[in-house]
Subunit: 341 residues, 2 copies
DNA sequence: TACTTTGTCGCAAACGGTTTCGTGTTGATA
DNA sequence: TATCAACACGAAACCGTTTGCGACAAAGTA
């Protein structure tokens, strides 16, 4: 096992100083062609690579970015992560992933672990518990330390930083309008607890569409489901009690589950009832019938978030730009077979 | 914006030496109770946290582990990643994620980026291209440098290191036996190109089951599909040409797609035809009918991989243990509605 | 009084680089 | 021959911590 070779080794071996080696490897004009060639050849031979940690310490820049997300076994977050990773990698950055698992404590812990110099900046989406508690001190702390921070999707106005969000309200509005234009009268909204920022915005779009088309908003048409639970009974109950001819779900899992229940109850999709979901994942693409859904373009969102962050990181040298940008990713409605074309 | 505070700042402020501060914060016996108290109070007040990078450089240990996987938008890898992250975090390690995207070049690049001191060890699963090319020099390189390495799922015998694999052959055998016991006569195998180590092992299990039950192996019953492509036509073709009454698919996507095609062709599942897939993901759980599938216990696999790696990392101080362990994760067959109970 | 012990603390090297500045050698110029 | 610029390289500081060891004072011992 050959241990990692350092500048010191090369210097000793070639009988020059460490600084000469360092300069030679950076092709500095200070060093003669002969010496450079000799040193570079030796370095290549022994496969010398500068120690990243040492460089980080010296430069006060780690080329790492911390990504803190609530869940990784989830199509949307996964695609965002992918977008971040690809963009960051292209820019020479590595991505350290922390999964908060929707827990406030883990989110705080993760940020503390990483904010001691391990990363140059953070990209994150709030955990459910954080949104619920409305406690953002860990974010403010990080921001106060001058560590760049970008929030995406699940954001908060409490923290001054760059943000990347979806036009949730508008796309929900558009989806509901489409259902109304299909001739649907009783459009259900299947959503999560309201402390989710995004769910709220989607609800707003739902309401706005009804208002614009002068349709009544029936509170009973809103079904609240819980994540991580089997909701089939609740869904069946809901369909039995309410006359529903269209359903907008805030995620694809709910949509597919609702479709399943409806089918078992004998409904024809989309003849009797239409379905639209959020997130264009494998579920939507492979359900029977294929689900009309809102594509959130997670990869794009991730790339934009990474771009914002890296710009902040690299501009920081110049001056503190206090301006906070909020980029909006335009969602698109992908029409498939669970709605009428 | 308050910049990060260092030992030097504290030392200057309290008019003691840097080493005194360092020792005081570690509760060293060398320092008097008075001084310790004073320093600790000051440190707490200013929220001092040691700079991770400096500690890493000093200790030659980063508390980071690199995870290189072919795909993140994929249920199995996602769950493994989750398992790694949870275990590693509990042990005080952070996880740097690199997605090879099934590309050999990206895999090599990722490892080069990280092997310059950024991580204490690697956990990885080979990219498709790497398995195809059979080129493992980047892995050997890392191993030669003494950086601990653990391979999981897509492994190779070419590299001496710890491995975590599934009992692919046995569980495939078991699945096929189940189908035979259902009375199925023509069991199809839907798989990927054979350079995938795991696909091969699953094929072997398929064959072994046929052999054991003295059933003929019909080459025509094997359908090879390509990832990332729409295969519906090929599947339909296959079902039309071949008389098939059961299907074993090497992943859940293929299984769900095959079920969809079969249903459209008028087959009743599981009356006319049974389906078993691999990977117990959201597709399997939410398909119609729910898919009988092989649970790979990705999270467990990730945890075991992380455990092996961290043990290697932390034992390394003692001596080079050249022994390479191969842990086998026992897959389980989850019986749902796509097979007869 | 002289010497040793004990308790506190600082010095300095080390981790592996980068970079500024200085120094010695050469050859050209006056 | 004295002066000087150009060239090639080395010394040393620095990034923030850790840690072995030496220093120094107070206190104990002979």
């Amino acid at each position: 096992m050959k241990k990692k070779i350092t500048l010191k080794h090369i210097a000793r071996e070639l009988d020059v100083s460490i600084s000469t080696v360092s300069k030679a490897l950076k092709n500095s004009e200070e060093i003669s062609a002969d010496t450079k060639e000799k040193i570079q050849a030796f370095a290549k031979l022994y496969n010398y690579k500068p120690n990243n940690i040492a460089v980080s310490l010296k430069n006060k820049s780690t080329k790492n970015i911390g990504v803190v997300i609530p869940d990784i076994v989830h199509h949307f977050f996964t695609t965002v992560f992918r977008g971040i990773e690809i963009y960051a990698n292209a820019k020479g950055y590595n991505v350290i992933a922390c999964i908060s698992d929707e827990s406030f404590a883990k989110e705080v812990l993760s940020m503390e672990m990483l904010s001691n110099g391990s990363v140059d900046g953070f990209i994150m989406s709030l955990s459910a518990e954080t949104e619920q508690k409305n406690d953002f001190n860990h974010l403010k702390e990080v921001a106060a330390q001058g560590i760049p921070l970008v929030l995406f999707d699940r954001v908060t106005d409490e923290v001054k930083c760059d943000k990347v969000i979806l036009n949730d309200k508008e796309i929900a509005y558009k989806a509901v309008i489409k259902l109304i234009d299909e001739g649907r009268q009783r459009i259900a909204l299947v959503t999560t607890e309201s402390y989710f920022n995004v769910s709220e915005k989607r609800s707003a779009g739902y309401s706005a569409a009804h208002l614009d088309r002068k349709m009544p908003i029936d509170e009973d048409l809103c079904l609240i489901l819980h994540h991580k639970e089997v909701n089939l009974e609740a869904i069946k109950d809901f369909f039995e009690k309410q006359q529903v001819d269209a359903v907008l779900c805030v995620n694809e899992l709910f949509a597919v589950q609702c479709m399943g229940v409806a089918q078992k109850m004998g409904f024809q999709i989309p003849k009797d009832i239409s379905f639209i979901g959020f997130t264009d994942g494998i579920l939507s693409q492979n359900s029977q019938p294929a689900l009309t859904t809102v594509a959130q373009h997670g990869e794009k969102m991730g790339a934009v978030a990474a771009e914002l962050l890296i710009n902040k990181i690299e501009d920081e040298a110049e001056e503190e730009s206090i301006d906070c940008r909020t980029e909006i990713i335009e969602a698109t409605l992908i029409e498939r077979d669970s709605t009428i074309n």
